[in-house]
Symmetry: C2
Subunit: 124 residues, 2 copies
């Protein structure tokens, strides 16, 4: 992706007053939603350039290349923005668990509806 | 769901300084991520009680029952919170399009990776 293309994409996105945009990370193989994390402009730029997920860590207040210490990187296959341009959806092929707890997805706390199992099957 | 159960769930969740928590809405049939919207405590309470999605509209600054004018309601089959308790994932069976533009999903702007089609198949 060229610098011009990245600049065009960035100009379409709305960052909040902290300069962040929420990014939903979805497993491209299983359809499982893995994580909701936040990107600043630099994280979007690096994610588009390297095709791996980069975020802004709000707790550590620094850039965060997913998997840089754990090795559990996420290769981005596709990225979408929403109707308002204020949210991103990235489809990834992941190495290892997405969650720092070791869980496959960060969304492992079932609040209700345990009888519905979100076991989507891969795209055909 | 009893009032005690709802109170217990609310006590586990972290709302931001505006009293909101982001909620990812995923189609329980197709696996498609439909919307990222925001709930306040009242929206979580109503969603859990009525099993339909309720949000806080940040643009209109009011409660928003998805589908109240369009008829495109979303029945909640399952809800999960993430490792930090600061994001929700709800699986819904929807009536009609999820997006106010008439698109099936709010994430209809493809930024790159058009060759990957997120056509997950239903849970078996």
């Amino acid at each position: 992706m060229t610098e011009t293309e990245i600049t065009a994409i960035l100009s379409q996105l709305k960052f909040d007053d902290q300069g962040l945009i929420p990014a939903i990370v979805q497993d491209a193989v299983t359809g499982r939603v893995l994580t909701l994390a936040y990107m600043n402009r630099e994280a979007v730029r690096r994610s588009l350039t390297e095709r791996q997920t980069w975020f802004w860590s709000r707790s550590r207040q620094k850039m965060w290349h997913k998997g840089e210490t754990s090795g559990n990187t996420q290769e981005i296959l596709r990225a979408e923005s929403d109707c308002d341009g204020d949210a991103l959806l990235v489809y990834v092929q992941k190495q290892g668990p997405a969650c720092h707890t070791g869980n496959d997805s960060c969304f492992f706390n079932n609040l209700f509806g345990a009888e519905f199992q979100p076991d989507f099957r891969p795209p055909s």
